[in-house]
């Protein structure tokens, strides 16, 4: 149990670190790389949990995560970055330092909230849950502090990673949830791809300040 615990904890820590570092990146390519790393570790975590819990489901989850999130999505995202020529830095809405301080505060909140309420749960779940919540919150924060549509999507995907991390920590959670997660990611990718193309068609940029048309003319 000790090894299970420490390995899972380590992987969770890496994922959290990736999510946190994404906040500090100005360039999309670096964010995608971090995301890929995050997904890879997540897949590994899923395999490890599957091994530890003897759950065949979790191997499947790990496989899906590896194939879709660690391979297909980053590839697609890089394609988009290339095609739209977005290698340069994206605009941030908040100073980097402030964003990172906020991120730290969020992690603090997540720990503050989760640890007392999971007194009765198994300790593995407990740690995992705190990390997962932190990742979810950091993903949200990333969506808020970046003005670029693609960066928002990366934040969104990072958030999903947090969810999956939580899901694989749940002992014996039926297949439904993981399946849904995969489905969501797949569909999200489709939708996002379509969207980005269309947004490009209409707005010539992926800076979403172009997407604030309705608001300006108070309709």
């Amino acid at each position: 149990m000790s090894l299970t615990f420490s390995l899972a904890h380590l992987m969770g820590g890496i994922i959290l670190l990736c999510a946190f570092l994404q906040l500090s990146q100005r360039r999309l390519a670096a964010m995608v790389t971090l995301y890929q790393l995050e997904a890879l570790v997540l897949a590994a975590a899923a395999f490890w949990q599957g091994y530890a819990q003897h759950e065949i489901n979790l191997y499947l989850t790990g496989l899906i995560t590896f194939a879709l999130k660690a391979m297909l999505l980053p590839w697609g995202l890089r394609e988009i970055v290339q095609r739209f020529n977005m290698v340069r830095a994206v605009e941030t809405a908040l100073p980097m330092a402030a964003a990172m301080i906020l991120g730290l505060a969020l992690i603090g909140i997540a720990v503050l909230v989760v640890l007392p309420v999971t007194m009765h749960a198994i300790s593995l779940t407990r740690e995992d849950l705190a990390i997962a919540l932190s990742v979810v919150l950091l993903g949200l924060l990333l969506m808020i502090v970046r003005r670029n549509a693609l960066a928002q999507i990366i934040g969104f995907l990072s958030m999903e990673n947090g969810l999956v991390l939580a899901a694989i920590g749940m002992p014996g959670m039926p297949f439904v949830a993981e399946f849904s997660v995969a489905l969501l990611v797949l569909l999200a990718f489709l939708v996002v791809g379509v969207f980005l193309l269309r947004i490009r068609e209409h707005f010539d940029t992926l800076d979403i300040s172009g997407l604030e048309d309705i608001e300006r003319r108070g309709r």
Binding site: V113, V114, P116, V117, T118, M119, H120, A121, T125, L129, A132, L133, V136, L140, M143, A149, Q152, F156, M159, E160, G162, L163, A166, A167, M170, P171, G172, M173, P174, V176, A177, S180, V181, L183, L184, L187, A188, V191, V192, F195, R198, I199, H202, F203, I208, L211, E212, D213, I214, G218, R219
Partner: protein, 479 residues
Amino acid sequence: MNFAALAIALPFLAASLLGLAGTPRQGAVANAAACAVLLVLTLAVFWGHGAGLVAADPLGALFGVLTGFIGFTASLVNIGYVSADAARMPTQRWRLYHALFQIVLGASLLGLYADNIGLLWAAMEGGTIAMTLGVSLYRTKRGLEAAWKYFILGGVGIGLALFGTMLVYLAAQPALGAGFAAMSFAALSAHAAQMDGALLTLAFLFILFGYGTKAALVPLHGWLPDAYAEGPAPLTTALSGPLINVALLAILRFRHLLEANPVAMRPGPFLLSLGLASLFLAAFSFSRRRDARRFFGFSSIEQSGISAFAFGIGGPAAIFGGLLHMVLHTLLKSGLFLALIRAASLRGPASPGNYTFSHLRGLLRANKYVAWLLAGCIFALTGLPPSGLFVSEFIIISQTIQRNPYMSLPLGLGLLLCAVAILRNIGPLLFAPAAHEKPKPAGRGMWLVAAHLVLVFLLAFATPGPLVHLLSRAAEALQ
């Protein structure tokens, strides 16, 4: 026979067929036929509610019938809409449109009938994605913008809801152990007292934020007005009511787990604050709206806030009021949008952008039946008698006073402001002097709107005994 599963399967089946073949008009007719069958099936669910993952309880079955009915009426009006608007989009996209129509229905029914919190979540997700695609269907600049908003905000909401769902599952571990049992509503309700209260509270928070996004409670409402305004009207407006209901029912059911758990925090304050925020934001957002569909989007936010408020008050009577309010409002709002579509088509194509109040004003000259029906629907939204909403709002207010008197003040004030803001628009809509125009025929669908209005009236004031029984049983079970 498991009619519930059948009723869920049918729309998805129909969606795959409609998505592949047919001209727009054929698609619309086939869509209507599928909806008619669906209505019958949803009725049949009362006699075959299924078991296992898909097991409709009476409340779900009731809202299922509502969904079926609204789908049916919307599909009928949709025929006219498609015929008039067929040239605006390529055939391919009309097929997608009809497929989305069915998927939204199917997802709503799945959310209502599923006795599994995971399936419920999946249904919400499916509904979200279908709606997102629906909103962007016209591919206008604003449509895209609205769809993007829908996608981002809805996606975040869905994510939070999933997190909450997982936490509920975790909280149920001490009582139910691993496996499907810990995800079934029936089992969860039965063992709510033994669940991990603290974790359950945390879970509820995420559930509230997740499904609250779908129910468009302030501050999670950002997607709704634009989505209403920019998509094809029958899909994004008339059919959004059932999806909102699914979300509200989900919140209600999870709320019950908290109430039944001795350790968990009371969910009341969370629901009350979101409900009141919705009410007040809507009240002050009404007055500067130029687009009617956006306007009624805010009205949906308001009504959802009222229901959430009722759930926050708690107690069987208030929940009864909240449920009744949902039933009545869904019927009314869909009727309103059907009338609105017809009203807009009296003045040209019923596509987005043609729903501004300045475009519709002086409707009495175009067609008095349409004008009066539309005005009747709008009026009924305010909850003044003889509107049916009066009854549900009365119940909610009276319960508020008995259980939490100080909350009745902001509730009353919010309702007052909303009602006044809504009423303000009726005058110009009906009587404003418009340019000379020939009266046009009302169109065939108007009796449907009238049927909606009459139903709202009858269900409220002469509520059939079985319905009262059903709702009060459900309210007692979920108090």
